[in-house]
Amino acid sequence: MTPLGPVAAGERAHLISFFLWMLPISLPILIGTPWIAMRYRRQGGKGKYDPTWSHSVAAEVVIWGGATLTFLIVGWLTWGHVMGEDPYKATGKEPMHVKVIGSEWKWMFIYPGKVAAVNRLVLPENTPVEFDITATGAMQSFWIPRLAGQIYAMPGMGTKMNLTTSEDPSQTYGFNSQFNGAAFPLNKFEVDVVSQEQFDAFLQEPKHPFAQLEKAFKKTATWSGPELFEPPEKGYWGKVMMNPDMLSDGGAAILPDHAPEQKKIDDAIREELHVSQNQHQGDAQ
């Protein structure tokens, strides 16, 4: 829960403020219950017994009033938070655009006109970014916890998410949080926030042809191939959004028993674990 960017930081701040605002009305219960239980116990309790005491206008006012007041405060805060932090709203001037396609257990990132990447998201530091998100196959949820909260990725639809990257270079990861089948635990990607120069260098890295990506993306369940490709033609992402089937082979979320795919996924899981156990050390917060 250590935020790297302002959006995630805001979310954390709200969480803490909500917790604090609810303490005044919760503490009387959390402290009062054990206290009453001790004081008024039948054997050994010191409290005065009053079996008919069952109504008090003052208490009613305090209870209803206190609860209503708490509600008004948290409700008011909520309105402000939500209106201020619509994920569709850009977090700065002229955000950088990245198009995202979630698929069965891998993510494609398209930097329009520049590069397409699989399972690897590289962003320049301290930059507002807008993601356009869609999916093929099942519903997914696009989430980079240390940078911003999640938003669903759905076939046939496009959603948006905005964030600003960390001020300094950093490394983190993102994933899909909506269960979608056999390799769900592997459905994640690396996120590198780098300096502007490094980012420019990244765009210049050698690339494979996009056709190769498209073909392999359809066929493979989990990705272990190269990561960088030529960008697709303009409007490609929109086409996938309208017609998700063009980038998926009909899906394989539940594989028939003994499908060869399943073996591959199991192997991929094992392989991944080898890598990630060494790599993610210290990345969790």
Binding site: S26, T78, G149, Y152, Q285
Partner: protein
């Protein structure tokens, strides 16, 4: 196409283990084996002991609301054992070195069945059972308004549960969680029969629950003892009324959504397909139109139970009756206005999110009022910590924590960071276990004597409480923590080393809960063994306040020999204060009780057959089953001789016998409440 539809050899539980032996298939085969062996063992036991006949004539054919209630609770307990074992296996899976001993899909089947079972086949039957036993007794009725329909509801629920159990033996269950969102659960991504199991088992129970809701509502509306105004009813009866309304109106969206999903899967329709104009978001929308009111269906009866238990063991009138009633009504109505909070992250506008977020928070107000009312009921009382009271106190304390986290989730900007995370999982278990389950445990401990005539063992009861309480904190507080670190739900394994210590604590907590459950089983066992010394034939073993305690224990089949006169909100307390130990009889008249009939059982059986056939696309068998179901109903409609009479004379004798018993039972002091001296009719002595 074969008459057996899509059923094939590989669907039989044991086969995959031989063709592809692994720990995962081994566990599946083992689980299937337990079901089969368990069923066989029960059958052998019944045969050896010669219990088939009594089982049939005393239980299966019964239309008595108390017995139906007991069967519901037994169903809940059986399913609960499966749900708990699954939970413990999941916890174990997550602490074993990744990727653990289960395949991802097998783990998915576990959380899907665990969630489905706990909600629909543990929680729902549990609360329906408690309502069945208690509510008619509290409003002075002799039975549910529609006893036959009541039994049909029961057997439909059992049929649904049987299907979920069958999925262990034949085929698979689905893997999309208890929420089963398409397109994942569409035919393309989930081609096997798992989702159909989900659809049809829920189909059966949700029809059952809707009918139960109608039954409860009409019973409360029409069957209250003469003179009992709505605002004279016990809080539990009020909770039932509101639950019933939720059941009637909230089950429908689920039925509609799941049948649409069935059409998509089997008939190629496009309700939820991504291409060709379907809209999967409407599934989520309809599911939560049901799902959110559902969680209040689960909690309101528990609230009702606490409102009965706490005054009794505080020796005090309930604080703020009117407030409590209005708060209950408010919760019921508001629960229909907040469903969007389950998908704040779907991409809707900020306005919509804000409106639904704030609407959600309004529920905190009536709920908070209720919590304070319980506290103030204890205030200035003389508290006796029976097992039921311990569960109630533990509830108040722990529930507030879950409520706070619920309100946090209700802020969409916070939800963006906690949705689909273990924080959410911790929130809802925090509501379901110390809320719903503790309520049901309190209910069982409190009202048990009404059904069986003896109390439950207190020593083991208290032990179970402490194990549950500690186990709960151990199992779920860590999930709040790693949830905030960004651990998603429904993960088969985690690779972040930082989560590991927390997961170990969670595992230990789950084991502690398991120990609590074991203590409960021992409690029942010990109590049955010692039932002679725990008998409370004179009734009212806890100086209770509701009119159900004016009856002897166990309660006779006709419940009340004469319908009690309602002179105030608590006529039984008034009677006791006036020095009486039985309520004055009103008028003895002949009454009619429904005769036992096997018909509801048959309806349930045929409906289950129909559903099973639908799952495996055996259309012919399904059609036959469907028609047979209605033919049975038709046959029943020709049956006009379905009542038996209990004469006024018998009722008078019953009353006199109870009176004699009461008069010969020595009065004992509250201090001896939990000792074997307690034979019923305990009272605070005026020393």
């Amino acid at each position: 196409m074969s008459i057996l539809g899509s059923l094939d050899w590989n669907d039989i539980f044991i086969v995959p283990f031989f063709t592809d032996p692994s720990l995962s298939t081994g566990i599946a085969a083992g689980a299937g084996g337990i079901v089969v062996l368990g069923a066989l063992a029960v059958m052998v036991l019944l045969t050896v002991k010669g219990w088939w006949k009594p089982l049939w004539s005393n239980w299966i054919t019964t239309l008595d609301h108390k017995k139906i209630g007991v069967i519901y609770i037994v169903l809940a307990l059986i399913m609960l054992i499966r749900g708990v074992l699954e939970a413990v296996v999941m916890r174990a899976q997550q602490v074993s070195p990744a990727p653990g001993f289960l395949s991802v899909e097998h783990h998915a089947e576990l959380f899907s069945t665990h969630g489905t079972i706990m909600i629909f086949f543990v929680a729902m039957p549990f609360l329906t059972g408690v309502i069945n036993v208690v509510m008619p007794l509290q409003i002075g009725a002799r039975d549910m308004e529609f006893p036959f329909m009541n039994a049909v509801s029961l057997w439909l629920s059992i049929g649904g549960a049987a299907l979920v159990m069958a999925s262990l033996v034949v085929g698979h269950f689905e893997t999309g969680g208890w929420t089963a969102y398409p397109p994942y659960t569409g035919i393309k991504l989930s081609p096997n029969e798992g989702v159909d199991y989900w659809i049809w088992s829920l189909g059966l129970t949700s029809v059952g629950s809707t009918l139960s809701g109608i039954n409860f509502l009409v019973t409360i509306y029409k069957q209250r003892a003469p003179g009992m105004k709505l605002f004279d009813m016990s809080i539990f009866a009020w909770a039932t009324l509101c639950t019933a309304i939720l059941m009637i109106f909230a089950m429908m969206p689920l039925t509609v959504a799941s049948l649409m999903l069935a059409l998509d899967r089997q008939a190629g329709f496009h309700f939820f397909t991504a291409t060709q104009g379907g809209n999967m978001m409407n599934f989520a929308n309809m599911f939560w139109l049901f799902g959110h009111p559902e969680v209040y269906i689960l909690i309101l009866p528990a609230f009702g139970v606490f409102s009965e238990v706490i005054p009794t063991f505080s020796g005090k009138k309930i604080y703020g009756y009117t407030s409590l009633v209005w708060a209950t009504i408010a919760i019921a109505v508001l629960s229909f206005t907040v469903w969007v909070h389950h998908f704040f992250t779907m991409g809707q506008t900020a306005h919509l999110n804000a409106i639904f977020g704030i609407a959600t928070m309004t529920i905190g107000v009536p709920t908070g009022v209720k919590v304070f009312n319980w506290m103030l009921t204890m205030w200035r009382g003389k508290l006796r910590f029976s097992t039921a009271m311990l569960f109630s106190t533990g509830f108040i304390f722990t529930f507030v924590i879950g409520g706070i986290t619920g309100v946090m989730l209700a802020n969409p900007t916070i939800d963006f960071a906690t949705h689909n995370s273990l924080f959410l999982v911790a929130h809802f278990h925090n509501m379901l276990i110390p809320g719903l389950l503790f309520g049901m445990f309190a209910a069982v401990n409190y009202w048990f004597p009404l059904c069986f005539g003896f109390r439950l063992d207190e020593k083991w009861g208290r032990r179970s409480f402490w194990l549950w309480m500690i186990g709960f904190y151990g199992a779920f507080m860590p999930l709040y923590a790693i949830g905030l670190m960004g651990a998603p739900r429904r993960m088969a394994f985690f690779t972040e080393p930082a989560y590991f210590p927390w997961l170990v604590i969670a595992m230990l907590g789950a084991l502690c809960v398991l120990a609590g459950l074991t203590a409960q089983i021992i409690q029942v066992w010990v109590s049955v063994k010692n039932r002679e010394s725990l008998m409370v034939p004179a009734g009212d073993p806890w100086d209770g306040r509701g009119i159900e305690w004016s009856l002897g224990c166990p309660v006779p089949e006709y419940d009340f020999s004469t319908i009690p006169a309602m002179t105030s909100r608590e006529p039984w307390v008034d009677a006791k204060e006036a020095g009486k130990r039985v309520m004055d009889p009103t008028e003895f008249v002949d009454i009619h009780l429904p005769k036992p009939t096997g018909m509801p059982f048959l309806v349930g059986l045929v409906a289950t057959l129909f559903a099973f056939a639908m799952i495996f696309q055996m259309w012919l068998i399904a059609a036959v089953g469907f028609v047979a179901m209605w033919v049975l109903v038709l046959i029943r409609s020709y049956d006009t001789d379905w009542e038996e009479t209990v004469t006024a004379e018998e009722l008078r004798e019953g009353y006199e016998a109870h009176k004699r018993l009461v008069e010969t039972t020595p009065q004992i002091r509250l201090d001896d409440e939990f000792t074997t001296k307690n034979r019923g009719l305990i009272m605070e002595t005026q020393v």
